[in-house]
Amino acid sequence: MSELPFSLTIQPGKPAYEQVIDAVHRAIAVGRLREGEKFPAVRALSKDVGINPNTAHKVVQHLVGMGTLEVLPGRGTRVARQSKLSKSAKVEELGVEEIVIEAMRLGFSKSELSGALEEAWDHLKHRKK
């Protein structure tokens, strides 16, 4: 049985390590991984996702570098606090522009897009409970 709080099948197209990073962020967004919670061991990540252990190790290092995870002496790797995350994150990096362009191309109005964003936000938050 999987030890991971999320499931992931690596698909062709995107780099494998990027798919793992996205899956971790998604798991945090929907509350499957909570702040302060222990992050699965490299071994579990490698085995359950089906990626090379060295690659899994790099993924964890990368997530620590991004501020998503933190290494606490004696307590292992944990999901970092949100406040810490927001300090290192920039809203420009979200790729909102792409979504806006695509919405314009498809002829959606500004309020329709705002509505869709809010709905998606609530949907993810709701799943947390």
Partner: protein, 316 residues
């Protein structure tokens, strides 16, 4: 914690193997560190199988030197063979034997043979012990070969096209099995494959072979860090001086540019800004190993064609 240590398990320099007048391997260099899982990628006929066969001491090289498992190339003895697992799609198996008989035959040859591990593998791979190997499907035969090569926990595992001809489910099981193995000991794996999507998951190092030479050999993460797909959109068409390191360039009348950079670094985004202007919309995308391989292959073809054309024009 790093699984990789700096011990070198394989090192070959200036390797040459000829079949008649044809040099299948033509001045090849390769270095494999302990604990790494290295993929040899290349077209058919690039020299992958020949390279693996030389390293496994199945055939001898005509030129070149190096070491495998601490012994000079070609000088592997009983002790080294007991630490080396070699599985090839072309390997002959004992088709009239049952798997049980084959295992009983092989076990005494390997001091490190692990009965419990062998039983576990047979169970995991769901192989019948009492059926003739000749009656196994291709996937089962491949698994049987793996059982026989893994049960003595070799330090170096060489796999030549391990996934070819396997159906997707068996392929997944094999990959999961190998990844599971990599957790425990300090295995070093060298494999050749055309299944690049699988390779991206399984391996941490990539060596590209072209015409008998290794052209690129580096950790997968470094390769993926330096290859980026760039997509630039500008308000007004711009003329940009093309850079040699840009591959597969396409432009829509100077308004939109897409290309792949092969040497992306921390400073590259600033360089792109200077070229395309502060208002340009620049999007960067990482590439899967398969896409990187395709970009390289296309570029190689383009260079070859250009070289041919310049020869033709000189003649005229």
């Amino acid at each position: 914690m790093s699984i990789v240590n700096k011990d070198i398990i394989i090192e070959v320099n200036d390797l040459v193997v000829q079949y008649g007048n044809f040099a299948a391997v033509d001045g090849l260099n390769l270095r494999v560190e302990k604990g790494r899982a290295v993929a040899l990628l290349g077209e058919n006929g690039a020299g992958k199988t020949t390279t693996l066969r030389v390293i496994a001491s199945v055939i001898a090289a005509h030129k070149g030197e190096g070491s495998v498992l601490g012994k000079p190339l070609g000088g592997l003895g009983q002790a080294e063979y007991a630490k080396l697992g070699y599985v090839s799609e072309n390997q002959k198996m004992y088709m009239n034997w049952t798997l049980e008989r084959l295992i009983t035959y092989l076990r005494p040859m390997y001091p490190t043979w692990d009965d419990a591990f062998c039983d576990e593998l047979v169970e995991d791979f769901d192989l019948p012990m009492d059926k003739k190997i000749g009656a196994f499907s291709r996937g089962m035969q491949m698994k049987a070969m793996l059982v026989c090569s893994l049960s003595y926990r070799p330090e170096l595992l060489i796999l030549d096209e391990p996934f070819s001809g396997l159906d997707p489910l068996v392929r997944e099981e094999l990959i999961d099995g190998i990844i599971e193995l990599m957790q425990g000991g300090e295995w070093t794996i060298l494999l050749s494959s055309h299944d690049i999507h699988e390779v991206e998951r399984l391996c941490d190092t990539v060596a590209l072979i072209d015409k008998g030479k290794v052209t690129v050999s580096e950790p997968l993460e470094d390769l993926q860090a330096r290859y980026k797909k760039v997509d630039v959109t500008v308000e007004n068409p711009v003329k940009v001086e093309l850079c040699d390191a840009w591959l597969n360039i396409e432009t829509d009348h100077g308004r939109r540019w897409t290309f792949t950079v092969s040497d992306f670094s921390a400073t590259s985004e600033g360089d792109l800004r200077r070229l395309f202007g502060a208002d340009a919309l620049i999007e960067l995308e990482s590439l899967s190993l398969r896409d990187i391989y395709l970009v390289m292959a296309r570029e190689k073809k383009r260079v070859r064609r250009a070289a041919k054309e310049s020869v033709t024009s000189t003649v005229q």
